[in-house]
């Protein structure tokens, strides 16, 4: 327990050399670190969802407000749910439900394809880290 005061004295001996302007410069430096990380390391965030039916673009929606989209296909209607920053196929008339089981897509480039009903949902972003992602 005698280590506490010694450590504090040691730190104080170093901190004595920090002047007011130094703290300002350090604050700015940390700000640059955080700002650059936020600006450069968010490539995977999607901006919008692209819904295709029968190979043609059916709808492009911004991922800003929650929304439900019904997309008609040869088997029936595929329901796509949009939420801020993510989207999913909520219901699909296809037999195997692969696109529904993929769940929420939240990365730019992610794609859910409901092949039997010829509907696909893809997320696009300005600086996408991947061209295409599927699971």
């Amino acid at each position: 327990m005698s280590r506490g005061p010694a450590l504090r004295a040691w730190l104080a001996a170093w901190a004595r050399h920090l002047r007011a302007g130094d703290l300002l410069v350090l604050g700015l430096a940390v700000g640059v670190c955080v700002a650059s990380a936020l600006a450069l390391w968010q490539g995977g965030r999607p901006d919008k969802a692209v819904i295709r039916a029968g190979g043609k673009v059916f709808l492009e929606v911004d991922l800003t407000a929650p929304r439900l989209v019904e997309v008609p296909g040869p088997l029936g209607s595929t329901r796509i749910e949009i939420q801020p920053g993510r989207a999913r196929v909520a219901a699909d008339p296809g037999p195997r439900q692969y696109c529904v089981r993929q769940g929420w897509l939240a990365t730019a480039g992610a794609v859910a394809i409901c092949a039997p009903n010829q509907v696909s949902l893809a997320l696009a972003g300005r600086n996408a880290a991947y061209d295409s992602l599927s699971y």
């Binding site: 001996a13 170093w14 050399h17 920090l18 002047r19 007011a20 302007g21 130094d22 300002l24 410069v25 350090l26 430096a29 940390v30 640059v32 670190c33 650059s36 990380a37 450069l40 390391w41």
Partner: protein, 175 residues
């Protein structure tokens, strides 16, 4: 030996000796630092800059330029890096940080100490390196992906080097 009429005599002044001594200390730190394994090329503590900071505070910017550039050139010769890509990166970083130091010394001394000089120089150093790397070595914007890593390294090592330099000058009075 009788001096011939054409012989040029070099008389190193006290200033020259001082520059040489400081440059030698900086070169030793460069070589010692090269032995430390580091996870990412380009990220290193830059301990030799402690010497530059001390020279800057005690003897002024011109002498700091001499010491820093001698250190870059001789350090690369010793490590076998002279004129290799790493040498040009060091040179670009060194020149950029000297420019930053040239500006930073004019900040009021009472408020901005060696830590400010050190952090500003460290940021200029990685910026200079990055510009050369982007233009010449990795002509792709992908290098900027590493900016946050370099910025963090510049902050941490800038702080540490600045504190060490400040402590070395503890007895300098106002400096």
């Amino acid at each position: 030996m009788t001096p011939s009429a054409t012989e040029i005599e070099l008389r190193p002044s006290a200033d020259d000796h001082r520059v040489a001594r400081h440059a030698a200390a900086a070169i030793v730190l460069t070589v010692a630092e090269a032995a430390i394994p580091l996870p990412l090329p380009g990220v290193k503590p830059g301990l030799a800059n402690i010497v530059t900071l001390v020279v800057l505070a005690r003897w002024g910017w011109r002498e700091a330029v001499w010491v820093a550039l001698l250190r870059v050139i001789v350090g690369s010769l010793v490590l076998g890096q002279f004129l290799a890509p790493g040498f040009f990166l060091s040179l670009a970083g060194g020149l950029a940080s000297l420019v930053a130091l040239g500006v930073a010394v004019h900040l009021p001394r009472r408020v901005f100490g060696p830590v400010s000089h050190s952090v500003l120089a460290a940021f200029a150093h990685f910026a200079g390196q990055l510009v050369v790397a982007r233009i010449w070595l990795v002509p792709h914007d992908g290098v900027f992906y590493l900016v946050p890593v370099f910025a963090l390294a510049a902050t941490v090592f800038g702080l540490v080097n600045g504190l060490v330099a400040a402590r070395l000058m503890e007895d300098d009075g106002a400096a």
